[in-house]
């Protein structure tokens, strides 16, 4: 039954015009970044690395390659994507309550838990497809337009070089893993807006509330106050950019970077666990409330 419900929910999601706002927004932003970098990328690179990029031996001297463009897009776009996710997932229950179809749906011989689970899974599938769309445009299209080469990442006044050479490609797998982390972060946003959607009668409330929660938690995460530093490790927003951990290498006893490694596997595992834990927590609260809820809309 969940499979039938999931198919129905996905069909409904992809027949709604609002679903495509996210896809169009991502396409426009990525295209603008790619166009701007095509037009005047080298000057911008010089500014970004303070001319230090010349100090690195990059294959073909192509610092402005597809991997670099994708890294830049991820940095820019992953701040806005939660809004695009909430736009759909915040509407999944509240939108139906507002339209009056929720009561019709819940008079069918299907348990409420199944209805909610199918909606949640559909929201996760939408988030996944949105991220795949972003990967296609930001990674694959950029690789096509700008080619592939070593990736230079400017991290805390240190420039890290990830190689693409005869020994292999040490970058592509990092992007795959980075997108997986980005997905976990967006899934927790989806779960938050979905949970808020259960308590609302129209979709504006959950969407605005989700963004408000993210903004407040992000402020808490960035302010270095003793009280905040105690709660920071437990906020999912502290791990929204955990994907960046994939672009930091471990060093050996001599201080040399270990190719194919990540700086802290434990920190990445903790980030993933906390993001997934929040997904489960938000869905659990939503499920409890939805099962008890009187449908009066």
């Amino acid at each position: 039954m969940v499979y039938t419900l999931l198919k129905v929910e996905l069909y409904k999601i992809f027949r709604k015009p609002r679903t495509y706002i996210g896809f169009i927004a991502i396409a426009v932003i990525v295209a603008l970044i790619q166009l701007a970098l095509k037009a005047d990328g080298p000057t911008w690179i010089k500014l970004m690395f303070n001319g230090m990029d010349d100090m690195f031996a990059i294959q073909d001297g192509n610092v402005l390659n597809g991997y670099f463009v994708c890294f830049l897009v991820l940095n820019t776009l992953l701040i806005q994507v939660p809004l695009l996710v909430a736009l759909v997932t915040g509407d999944l229950v509240a939108g139906e309550a507002n339209a009056g179809t929720l009561r019709l749906l819940l008079t069918k011989p299907i348990g409420r838990s199944y209805v909610l689970l199918a909606k949640f899974l559909a929201g996760l599938v939408y988030t996944f497809i949105l991220l795949v769309w972003m990967a296609i445009l930001a990674l694959f299209l950029s690789m096509l337009l700008f080619g592939t080469s070593d990736l230079l990442v400017n991290k805390s006044y240190t420039i890290i070089q990830f190689f693409v050479d005869s020994e292999g490609d040490d970058v592509f797998w990092r992007f795959v893993a980075a997108f997986a982390f980005a997905y976990a972060a967006l899934a927790s946003v989806a779960a938050l807006s979905f949970m808020l959607s259960v308590f609302a009668e129209n979709s504006i409330g959950p969407i605005v509330s989700t963004m408000s929660v993210i903004i407040v938690c992000t402020i808490i995460s960035t302010m270095d106050l003793p009280l905040f530093t105690q709660i920071n490790p437990y906020l999912f927003t502290s791990y929204m950019t955990a994907w960046k951990g994939m672009f930091n290498m471990a060093v050996d006893a001599n201080g040399a970077a270990i190719r194919g490694s990540v700086y802290s596997t434990a920190a990445l595992a903790k980030a993933m666990a906390i993001l997934l834990g929040h997904c489960i927590l938000f869905f659990g609260i939503a499920l409890y409330a939805f099962r008890k809820k009187d449908i009066l809309s």
């Binding site: 009561r103 019709l104 008079t107 011989p109």
Partner: protein
């Protein structure tokens, strides 16, 4: 006979407000069971409790021999419903909506079956049109198609004539009667429109402020000795003429006209006598007997 629906001592509280207060009633197979009450009387809350949309504070609901909520799915499989507005997914076509709700009702509909159902409600020509382009009447017909697609035994209609034009209201009335007579369905229909219930119900319940006021068959509830006839005339001496006749004891003069409280089978004789008394008739009508009963019982 075992009732199809048996509700006992049903209560529902929202905070301090009691929406339904110790409500008990039974619906039997083949009934058109009228649920009558003013707006806010507790009709919709009760119907939502039957459909598991609202959880009772306490009390029991048994349908088809099963208890709610333990056998929720078995029960809902046998019910089709329209609750207040017949809402469907506006961004989908009538066909898509019907297909989705058919699947969710537990059947695997063929395209032929779906088109036949749309044909029955007169929407076949608009099968592929988006619901957002539909009139209220068309949405209502789609709602009926959705409610009936899985051939339910019991149909629950909550305020089904809301927002309909006179033709739509008449169509709905005919449909309710046809569901019982031709398709052998049991129907629960709620309305605050006394006239509508009176014309279709075989049994009914009147509720007020969440409490049952009365329940019974239409024949039981309508006292034939209590028919009210209203006469409007321009004759200034009409009152004196009637007071001098055999009808004086059952006449009351009001601002609206002259009211006669008589037996139903005396109405033709009264009409004849008024003509014989040379009173010009502007209007001679039987007041809705249900309205009279309702006002008497609820004291509104």
């Amino acid at each position: 006979m075992q009732p199809l629906v048996q509700v006992q001592h049903l209560h529902k509280r929202f905070g301090d407000f009691t929406a339904v207060n110790d409500l008990s009633f039974s619906v039997y197979a083949g009934d058109i069971y009228g649920f009558l009450g003013q707006n806010g009387a507790g009709k919709s809350t009760t119907i939502r409790m039957l459909l598991t949309l609202v959880a009772p504070t306490h009390g029991s609901i048994e349908m088809f021999g099963y208890q709610l909520p333990a056998h929720r799915n078995e029960i809902l499989r046998k019910i089709g419903a329209i609750i207040e507005r017949p809402d469907a997914y506006k961004y989908l076509s009538a066909y898509d909506n019907l297909q989705i709700f058919a699947r969710l009702s537990g059947i695997k509909p063929t395209p032929k079956m779906l088109m036949e159902q749309l044909e029955k409600v007169g929407l076949a020509a608009r099968a592929k049109s988006m619901v957002k382009t539909f009139s209220q009447g068309m949405k209502q017909r789609l709602g009926i198609a959705i409610a009936l697609i899985h051939d339910p035994q019991l149909i629950i209609l909550d305020e089904p004539t809301n927002g309909l034009d006179p033709q739509g209201i008449a169509d709905m009335r005919h449909l309710i009667i046809a569901l019982r007579k031709e398709h052998k369905k049991t129907v629960i229909v709620s309305s605050h429109l006394l006239n509508e219930i009176e014309q279709v119900a075989t049994r009914m319940i009147i509720i007020d402020k969440g409490k049952k006021v009365t329940e019974g068959s239409t024949q039981e509830l309508f006292d034939p000795a209590n028919t009210v006839v209203e006469l409007q005339t321009g004759d200034e001496h009409a009152v004196e003429k009637i007071q001098a006749s055999a009808w004086s004891h059952c006449m009351t003069a009001t601002e609206d006209g002259l009211l006669f409280q008589i037996r139903a089978d005396d109405v033709p004789q009264l009409a004849k006598d008024i003509v014989a008394l040379d009173i010009p008739i502007e209007q001679f009508s039987k007041r809705h007997s249900l309205e009279t009963l309702f006002l008497q019982l609820t004291g509104h």
